[in-house]
Amino acid sequence: MRYSLRPMQPNAQTHPALEIERLSFAYGPGDRGGFELALPSLTLGRGEEMLLVGKSGCGKSTLLQLVSGLLDPTSGSIRIGGTDIAALRGAARDRFRGRHIGMVFQTFNLLQGFSARENVLVALLMSDVPKSDWAARAESLLRSLGIEQLDARAEELSVGQQQRVAIARALACRPTLVLADEPTASLDPENAVNAIRVLRDACREQGAALLVVSHDPALESHFARIERLASLSAHATAGAAR
């Protein structure tokens, strides 16, 4: 395994938050059928917001996993703040992800048994934020998102509160880019509107670009930029839903 201790390119402010060029990804065929995703180009500026929509199984989540470096593209480049995450390997890629990308999931994926504060602190543990700033940053982020029960365990919080803790965790390391994967799918329409507002406000406040993927058309009214994965993709087939 090849390790690179530093990002291959400086994370200069001049680079967009996300630049995808000639991206292709394929796996299978396997017993569940094959899957291919091809994306010629996609750019998201710093602090910009974008909603990426598409049917279930069209590859939205796969794209997010590629952007976050959890999957390796077959070809092409994915640059976060100018650094090609696909070119990073091993611990360097993990570290880069922890420091520059925040993720919010449909099921929030909070660490069970950890308090709201600790869930945010874990993200900071993986970051390059000075340790002396962790407590204050976690507390201010959570309070700014309306969480007052900082020491309540994740499972003791309401769904809406869990969502906000997940947002705070995603923003803890002042990421360049926040990826939100169906962030409102577990919420009722009223809470979904609130959640997306909180997420957008928080990202704006922290200067992070926001890429939301969803199949919920109700979210479209909240975003100025909406892209459809099917129209972006030169060749997207879903032999099986991922």
């Binding site: 449909q106 993200a123 993986m126 962790w134």
Partner: protein, 428 residues
Amino acid sequence: MSDLTIVFRSLAVRRFSTAVVVALVAISAGLLLAILSLRTAGERAFERGTGNAHLLVSRDGSPLVSVLNGLFYANPPKAPIEAAKLKELRESFPWAMFVPTAIGDSYRNFPVIATTPEFFTKFEPVLGEPWKFAEGRAFDKNFEVVIGSTVARETRMPIGSKIVFTHGSHMSREDGGPKIEPHVHEEYAFTVVGILEPTGAPHDRALFCSLESSWVMHAHDRFEREGKHKLVTVEDLEEQDRVVTGILMRLPSREASSAPPALVSQYDRLRRDPSITAAIPANEVQRLFGIVASLDVLFIAMAAATLVSSAVAILLSMLNSMGERRRQVAILRVLGASRARIFWLVLTESTLVGLVGAVAGVAICIVVLFAATQWMLGAHGIVIAPQLDPRSAVIVAMGTTVLAAIAGIVPSVLAYRTSVARNLRPLG
């Protein structure tokens, strides 16, 4: 927040299984440690109990039995040494110490040792540690008795108490010899004149009186059997009454702790006499431990096997929780934790279980040692100080921790290889 916090939280989430596994490890480590410590303490207690006697002569069946009966008061000695033989042995060598003892009576199940005043002036219960009196003095008249510290503690008898002995004792004779039906010597009351300080040897649970007192009581029995009903006195004693069951001997030596050169030759001389059994107490204790050594190894092997099985329990417990753990691993990976960090986090978790179990095992060991001490004292009269051997404790604790770490390798590798994408579903 640190990596250790993550480990603690992970253990806390599975608190029940964690507690069960820690308990299992603790019991195993504690058991192994207790066996090792008891072995050392037992050896020390037996070595301590031999006192400063170079030789012990009796008429028991073997030197080992002679030492167990004559110094550890395991059973009343088998047969008496006649007065003529006693005189012959006394005059056969210029002994530095020649202390005859007669064991056979008891008081509330504590053995009574009839002896001479030299028992308190020349015999040392522990080598280099002479007798010390907590209260009172040694007997200097017949029908005076000195009591050991355990006897004093359990009977709460003050100085001046009057007591009567039981002829025969609770200690059954298993050698097929003539059994003496226990009966109380109500005719002869003894006065407590001294209470000894604890020695850490079986003498603590014994009482000591003069040989003549014992001879008078037993002569009284003989008179009764012969139909002569009178209160026997010292003047009535005959040669046949003046018997003993053991003799503690010490050769002249320049240094208290070293064996004199003449010991081997004197031992050989006495050993050739078929009418007596001669023993070097220190050698017999070593021989005893040699005999039980193989059993000892078996116990240690069993305890070690239990320890290994507890390591397997750690492995199974961690494998059982892999489903839940994979999700946690995936979240940590998304947050920026490397595979190597995940590996170490899981390995630290299993190591911590082993470490906590080992520490709890040391505590369990202390409890077991205390219980074993009380049991050995109560059942066998052998005083074993509840001492935890620090070297054994460190070795067992380290061994337990290393075993736990080894048990954690497989779950750590599985965590290392966890697919993040697959374990964060549903992703939409």
